[in-house]
């Protein structure tokens, strides 16, 4: 393929497959609607010309704010066809955050999903002098809006059709002019520290590195179905869903609503998919919880089969061959339980399964491997794309695999992972200092702490800045313990605390409301709210037991000595989590400073008055008392 840019590759697909091959499928009105490559190409073409007629010029930026839908992709490709960059914004951003992204990226257009997102832009449009039009694709509820800045997606398409009559060759010319150096997309770093930075991705990055990735993992020629589910504002969806689907090509399937994914994934039976670490944990938690509610016989069969699966998974992970006897019992277990389980989860057909963007417990990987699903926990970043990748046949639960062929990895003396990449990002937008800061002597400093094992597999432990030292000078990684704690069905989130001024490790726990609620129900424990439930004696005992289980697997000095069940859930609306649901450690530690002091004090009860931000933006305070608990050695 000679295409240098995604729009060129799209045009090639259009010429090659036209109306015969399906490119996208979206569930709408309860039916899967199909779009062929011809539909895809024409939508992109007309939307692009429509934007040009409205004044889009080469080098502009366009914000896109919406759930995963074909329109998102069409808009992005249309924008790229003119040599412009698409700026993806997460849908749950508050108006101020949207303003930051739109303002910082100098967006001249915004393409929005629905009323909710349009409202955000209408609220902030006066602060965005560069913004020319706000375009929406779902008109529901916007019927009576008459702000002249608004325009519907279809209206833009119609404008494009009109514009084509005036200048029929313009679109082809623009696509021809595209080069690998054009910036195709901005991905903002999720920003566990400071303001988000806009990582610029060139067409070369999007096309060539993704082609290599696809070849590495054998995406080609398999007619793979892909489920588009992770936010397109994120680099991984840019790489697999947007770029990969065009370059390979694959069929991209869009679920009807975020709430219907579980149903929709079963109807599609995708071959390739990406779930974040959280989602794998949630799936596992859901299976465990449903099994708890199941009948005795089913529970029994499940309990008999799971150890067989885990055993076989361990043999595979050890790189050994599975002997005939194990093959036979696994066959039985597979057909008794795992096959149906996979079907229920919509994972019957999966071949290539990814996870990244946050540590995932090896236990989770082991669990899914028992079901015959090999999760490839790769390591990558907004700036560098995929950096290391577990290879088929050599996927190990605790590693992120060897470096990909186009990347060189080195460790600094402190253990920081350094990268040299044939296809790196093109720097941070309007922030050359930050760009320069990240690179020394040609090596990109990731800020991640890790090491290579003897087989050359990369093991990523944590962010450098998140490594903690205890009073004795010993280093430990809070996150390492946290993912293991989160494997418990009863713990949704955990923040492990320690420091040079602290003798031992403590933890703030967020209970999982659903599962702990079910636990309480089964034991006739009455409770009113999350806060109330979290402080029940039985629940405290339950969580203590879970912590003890994890403590047993950790070195002596990193074991949790005391813990509290937090009275509320961590919330992205209160800045405690990033939009990709990573804990904002420093912020949270600062916010609960007094509570943490209490963890290292003598009191057994701590009174708390916390401010909360409700969904609608109102603020309130709640008062409650929290138990500080010792973890007994067992």
């Amino acid at each position: 393929m000679s295409a240098e840019t995604l729009p060129q590759a799209l045009r090639e697909n259009y010429k090659k497959y036209g109306p015969r091959v399906v490119a996208m499928r979206v569930k709408d009105r309860g039916i899967w609607q199909e779009y062929t490559w011809e539909d895809y190409y024409l939508k992109v073409k007309y939307f692009c010309l429509g934007l040009v007629s409205l004044g889009l010029e080469k080098g502009d930026k366009v914000s896109i704010l919406g759930e995963n839908k074909p329109e998102w992709f069409w808009a992005e490709l249309a924008v790229q066809s003119t040599g412009c960059a698409a700026v993806g914004i997460f849908t749950d951003c508050l108006p101020e955050e949207v303003k930051y992204y739109a303002e910082h990226s100098d967006s001249t257009f915004a393409v929005c999903h629905d009323q909710e997102q349009v409202d955000k832009f209408l609220e902030i449009k006066d602060d965005l002098p560069k913004l020319k039009k706000v375009i929406y694709w779902d008109p529901k509820g916007i019927w009576t809006y008459n702000d002249p800045i608004l325009l519907s997606f279809d209206e833009v398409i119609d404008l494009g059709k009109g514009y084509e009559k005036k200048d029929p060759d313009l679109f082809d010319e623009m696509v021809d002019q595209g080069s690998g150096d054009d910036i195709g997309a901005f991905c903002y770093t999720s920003g566990t520290t400071g303001l988000p930075k806009g990582g610029m991705l060139s067409q070369r990055f999007l096309v060539e590195s993704v082609l290599l990735w696809g070849k590495l993992d054998d995406w080609f020629g398999k007619k793979y179905e892909y489920l588009s589910f992770i936010p397109p504002a994120w680099i991984t969806e840019q790489a697999i869903g947007v770029a990969g689907a065009i370059l390979v090509p694959m069929v991209v399937n869009f679920p009807e609503e975020p709430e219907t994914v579980q149903e929709n994934i079963r109807e599609i039976g995708p071959h390739i998919l990406f779930f974040g670490a959280r989602l794998w944990e949630n799936l596992n938690r859901m299976v465990q919880a449903k099994m708890m509610d199941s009948t005795f016989l089913r529970r029994l069969i499940y309990r008999l089969s799971l150890p067989i699966g885990l055993k076989v998974a361990d043999i595979k992970s050890g790189g050994n061959n599975i002997n005939l006897a194990w093959r036979f019992v696994y066959f039985l277990a597979y057909h008794a339980v795992f096959r149906q389980l996979r079907d229920r989860l919509g994972l019957s057909n999966v071949v290539v399964v990814y996870s990244a963007g946050g540590a995932i417990s090896p236990d989770i990987i082991r669990y899914f491997r028992a079901l015959g699903i090999d999760i490839r926990l790769f390591y990558g970043s907004t700036e560098q794309g995929a950096v290391s990748m577990p290879r088929r046949g050599d996927i190990r639960p605790e590693t992120s695999g060897p470096p990909v062929p186009w990347v060189e990895i080195k460790l600094s003396d402190e253990g920081e992972i350094l990268i040299k990449n044939e296809y790196p990002y093109s720097g941070y937008y309007k922030n050359p200092e930050a760009t320069a800061e990240k690179v020394k002597d040609g090596w990109f400093y990731t800020g991640d702490f890790g090491h290579m094992n003897e087989d050359g597999h990369l093991i990523v432990i944590d962010r450098m800045e998140d490594l903690k030292e205890l009073a004795g000078g010993k280093k430990f990684s809070p996150q390492y313990s946290e993912v293991r704690l989160r494997f418990s069905p009863y713990i949704k989130d955990a923040l492990v605390i320690g420091g040079p001024d602290k003798e031992y490790v403590t933890v703030l726990v967020n209970i999982d409301l659903d599962n702990v609620g079910r636990f309480a129900e089964a034991r006739h424990i009455a409770y009113t709210t999350f806060t109330d439930l979290s402080q029940k004696e039985e629940v405290l005992d339950l969580i203590e037991n879970e912590i003890v289980k994890v403590n047993d697997t950790l070195p002596e000095w990193t074991r949790t000595k005391r813990f509290v069940n937090l009275h509320k859930e961590f919330d992205a609306d209160e800045d405690e989590l990033t939009r990709t649901r990573k804990l904002r450690r420093t912020f949270v530690e600062d916010r609960y400073k007094d509570l943490i002091d209490a963890l290292y004090g003598d009191e057994e009860v701590y009174k708390v008055e916390a401010s909360v931000t409700y969904r609608d933006g109102r603020k309130g305070t709640i008062e409650t008392s929290i138990h500080v608990n010792e973890v007994q050695e067992k």
């Binding site: 009105r29 309860g30 009807e256 609503e257 149903e263 969904r615």
Partner: protein, 261 residues
């Protein structure tokens, strides 16, 4: 705040409506006009006769006195199903759905007043019957989209939480393609977020369908927020009618709600 729709003609004109249960005077000479293009709220303390008022309009109860004129036609003696077929749809305070059917099937059942094919061709299910079914399904999907019911489309109504069931009830009323929509406490028993959703849906329906909506509701914030006019009932009597602002400051209304000093 929505502006008053002064110049609209009444779609339903209710005159001197009186209803008795034995010795209990449920409604006493109530006269209200439901105008085209308005959201009208009926408020009042418990037992004021609000639901009885609805039941008279849609034919569950027959008043002993008075008239309900709908486009010039008297409804007082008609059966409920006839009134439904005339285009007056309602929801119920206690949610009267088929709990053993899916949300979708409940809605399809509501479309039956628009179905022309008979039972026999329904059994054979091809040609025009099939096309008719598809056309109806398409209508229903529009409503599912409007009320954001995609995740519960195929779920049994009996297994749904209360708030979702209320939504199915509302959707079912919409499936009839009504000319007038009567909503009996659509937000009762809901939390703030769910109430906001329903309020938004009511406004969406109003904007999209341009039909009059009559609302019985206890949540004064919602009532003041989304309605054009309010009528107040107390012990079967209409004690006030007017704009939200007027009602807020009406002494009789305050007395009825707060009791006499």
């Amino acid at each position: 705040m929505i502006q008053e729709q002064e110049d609209h003609k009444p779609i339903i004109s209710i005159q001197d409506l009186s209803l008795k249960f034995g010795g209990l005077q449920a409604l006493n000479n109530v006269s209200v006009d439901i105008k085209s293009g308005e959201i009208l709220s009926i408020i009042g303390p418990n037992g004021a006769g609000k639901t009885s008022f609805f039941n008279c309009i849609n034919g569950f109860y027959h008043p002993y006195q008075g008239q309900i004129l709908y486009q010039g036609r008297d409804l007082t003696r008609l059966k409920p199903h006839k009134i439904a077929a005339l285009g007056i749809a309602r929801t119920f305070q206690n949610i009267e759905l088929f709990s053993g059917l899916s949300a979708l099937d409940n809605l399809m059942a509501a479309r039956h007043i628009h179905m022309k094919r008979g039972a026999l061709s329904g059994c054979l299910f091809f040609g025009p019957t099939r096309r008719e079914e598809i056309a109806h399904r398409e209508k229903i999907e529009e409503i599912i989209d409007l009320l954001e019911m995609e995740p519960i489309r195929k779920k049994l109504v009996g297994s749904l939480p209360y708030g979702e069931r209320k939504k199915v009830d509302l959707a079912r009323a919409l499936c009839m393609d009504p000319e007038v929509l009567l909503l009996d406490e659509p937000m009762a028993g809901m939390n703030v977020e769910e109430k906001e959703d329903i309020a938004r849906f009511v406004l969406d329906i109003y904007e999209l369908k341009k039909i009059p909506i009559v609302l019985i509701e206890h949540d004064m914030d919602v009532v003041m927020d989304i309605t054009h006019r309010i009528a107040v009932l107390d012990f079967g009597l209409k004690i006030a009618e007017g704009l939200p602002e007027e009602i807020k400051n009406n002494e009789r209304v305050l007395k009825a709600y707060l009791g006499e000093e």
